[in-house]
């Protein structure tokens, strides 16, 4: 009845201290072994030849080209999926139409498909023996083993993230404020920028962070379409593999550490955004 009484541990429904210690110990130990130790290993291995070797590895021209390619691919696919995500979430939250449930399932489809298959379908479509590959090649357009293929594969695997984040949010928020704005004389664009966007901004940002991190870290799908041409069509994750296969371990770990920073950075950003989102609702 009092909130105070709620927070008090209830003797009849808790485990003895030793049981609790074992459960916490097992869980945390498992996490340490599987998550913390590998993360630490990347950092240690990256710095194993000293700071200057680390600096050399990440400023190597091939590494920089890979970084640039990664950024370009993300810079194209994230905005594409952002616009799609908002449009799809809006349509799904706002309207009831036949096939709506199917649309939601289809949006999730790329998550259920192995990254290798995601890359493979583009090879089947645009590759040398593909459906429209020969025609494109005759017209001087190269998709597979080039930037367009990488962008397409990246867009495919990061396709659902923004939409998935926004659909439940926009469904929960309803449409009354938008209707009020329209009745008060706002144009549809004003309604979107002044009402809808502020309402969904944290969810949107969350989806974008998720999408960006995944775009920059994607390996399997990109690996299929890129052809792994060093310094030309390798993104950062592919560059890690190339270095590893060439026994350049320290350099591989150094480049991998950049990806760790991106990954952990996105994780921290997501938690901060999630907190803001919670506060604002």
């Amino acid at each position: 009845m009092l909130p105070l009484e709620r927070s008090i541990p209830r003797a009849a429904t808790t485990e003895p201290t030793w049981v609790r210690r074992i459960i916490i110990g097992l869980g945390v130990g498992f996490l340490l072994l599987f998550v913390v130790v590998p993360l630490a290993t990347v950092v240690i291995a990256a710095l194993s030849h000293g700071a200057s070797a680390y600096g050399r590895a990440i400023t190597d021209p091939h590494a920089l080209r890979a970084l640039k390619l990664t950024l370009i691919a993300a810079a194209i696919s994230v905005p594409l999926n952002l616009v799609f995500g908002v449009a799809a979430a809006w349509a799904i939250a706002r309207f009831r139409f036949p096939g709506r449930a199917l649309l939601i399932t289809l949006i999730d489809l790329p998550l259920a498909v192995s990254p290798v298959i995601a890359g493979m379908v583009f090879v089947l479509l645009f590759g040398a023996n593909g459906l429209i590959g020969p025609w494109l090649a005759a017209n001087g357009v190269k998709v597979i083993f080039a930037l367009p293929g990488i962008v397409l594969a990246t867009t495919f695997v990061t396709f659902p993230y923004v939409a998935r984040e926004l659909i439940p949010l926009m469904e929960a928020q309803g449409h009354e404020e938008e209707e009020a704005a329209l009745v008060l004389g706002a144009s549809p664009w004003q309604m979107f920028t002044k009402i809808t966007l502020p309402k969904i901004k944290w969810g949107l940002l969350y989806g974008v962070v998720l999408c960006t991190a995944r775009a920059m870290g994607e390996f399997g799908a990109v690996s299929v379409v890129s052809g792994n041409i060093r310094g030309r069509t390798s993104t950062l994750p592919l560059h890690v593999e190339i270095l590893y296969n060439e026994y350049e371990y320290q350099a591989a770990f150094a480049v991998a550490s950049l990806l760790v920073i991106i990954g952990i950075g996105s994780l921290i950003a997501r938690r901060l955004i999630a907190r803001r989102k919670k506060e604002s609702t």
Binding site: L4, A12, T13
Partner: protein, 346 residues
């Protein structure tokens, strides 16, 4: 089965939920713990059930110290405000739970559960899931579940608190009849005085972790032990007064009081103890009607009495109301049939 509570104190951090509380519940009685939230009534119930341990003091069932028994060993029936039914089990298995964990034979379980479903008038609903029942039905299932293992006492924590008014009223009468049938010693927590008065043999009024008064519904209503009980049990007009020689002075009016005292204090008058007349008489107080509202068996009249220095409320029955034919703005005369004074608590 008698319940005795001796000098129990319970603190949650700096908050004292129970402060040196003692209480006796005779066998077969239905007792209501009545008080505002935070008064400690639920804490007392949880200590009796074994879900909380007291910091000091002891509880006894038929003279046996409960201190060494855990919740599962005590065999008390407990009913929660929000039912706490097992959602994944159907009605039958919910009721059977206490028998299943005691590994009773299947035939006994079948008989007992059927008997209980009959008792709570829900026979035939055994295979429903709790989510398919109404609130009132869920609470009756919770009660049947609590009774399954023939508990030594029955404890109910705001059992009707989550239900709407009509179902509540129904279940009150039903609980009273059920108690008359099974005669199980029962402690029942509520913050609703009507509920406590209607259902209980005795009422225990609590506030701030202390028991303020114990008595039959009539006793506590007619003879409140102190100003808290007076205020908590129904509406009351409160006036600032000064006392001299067996009379209290409120504004310009003198009132006879049943307890002589001196100095300043408060005067308490129940709305039904205010009389209204069209014509003046000795000691009558002039007032104006602000608003007349029909209220159950009578009328609620809000009045302004300049001589008392404040507004007050009077409740009169329909016949009197018809005779007076009061309208908003009428001038009338009041007399106070009874006024009470309590020793000032700090």
């Amino acid at each position: 089965m008698t319940i005795s509570v001796r000098n129990i104190t319970k603190r949650f951090g700096t908050f004292t939920a129970l402060n040196n509380v003692s209480l006796d519940v005779p066998s077969g009685e239905l007792v209501a713990l009545l008080g505002p939230s935070g008064s400690g009534k639920t804490s007392l119930l949880r200590i009796l059930s074994g879900l909380e341990q007291p910091d000091q003091g002891t509880a006894f069932l038929d003279g046996t110290d409960l201190g060494s028994q855990s919740a599962r060993q005590r065999n008390v029936g407990l009913v929660f405000q929000h039912y706490a039914l097992f959602r994944h089990l159907d009605v039958f298995e919910n009721v059977a739970f206490a028998l299943r964990v005691r590994k009773r034979p299947e035939s006994e379980v079948q008989t007992r559960v059927k008997e209980l479903l009959q008792l709570v008038q829900l026979e035939g609903l055994g295979r429903r899931m709790p989510s398919q029942l109404s609130g009132g039905q869920r609470q009756r299932i919770a009660l049947a579940r609590a009774l399954a293992a023939r508990p030594r006492v029955l404890l109910l924590d705001e059992p009707f608190g989550a239900l709407d008014a009509q179902v509540r009223a129904e279940l009150r009468g039903w609980l009273r009849r059920l108690h008359d049938e099974i005669h199980l010693t029962t402690v029942f927590v509520t913050h609703d005085q009507d509920e406590a008065f209607e259902v209980a043999d005795r009422v225990v009024v609590m506030d701030h972790g202390k028991i303020e008064q114990v008595g039959s519904p009539t006793e506590v209503f007619e003879h409140p032990a102190n100003d808290f009980v007076m205020r908590f049990l129904g509406h009351v007009n409160v006036f600032e007064a000064s006392f001299e020689a067996g009379r209290a002075r409120v504004g310009e009016v003198f009132v006879d009081v049943d307890r002589p005292g001196d100095g300043h204090g408060r005067l308490y008058v129940r709305p039904h103890e205010v009389d209204i007349a069209r014509s003046s008489s000795k000691d009558a107080i002039a007032a104006r009607v602000l608003r007349v509202t029909p209220l159950g068996a009578g009328l609620k009249i809000e009045l302004r009495a300049p001589a008392l220095g404040s507004n007050l409320r009077a409740d009169i029955d329909w016949d009197r109301g018809t005779a007076l034919a009061l309208r908003d703005g009428d001038d009338v005369f009041l007399s106070l049939r009874r006024a009470r004074v309590f020793a000032q608590a700090a």
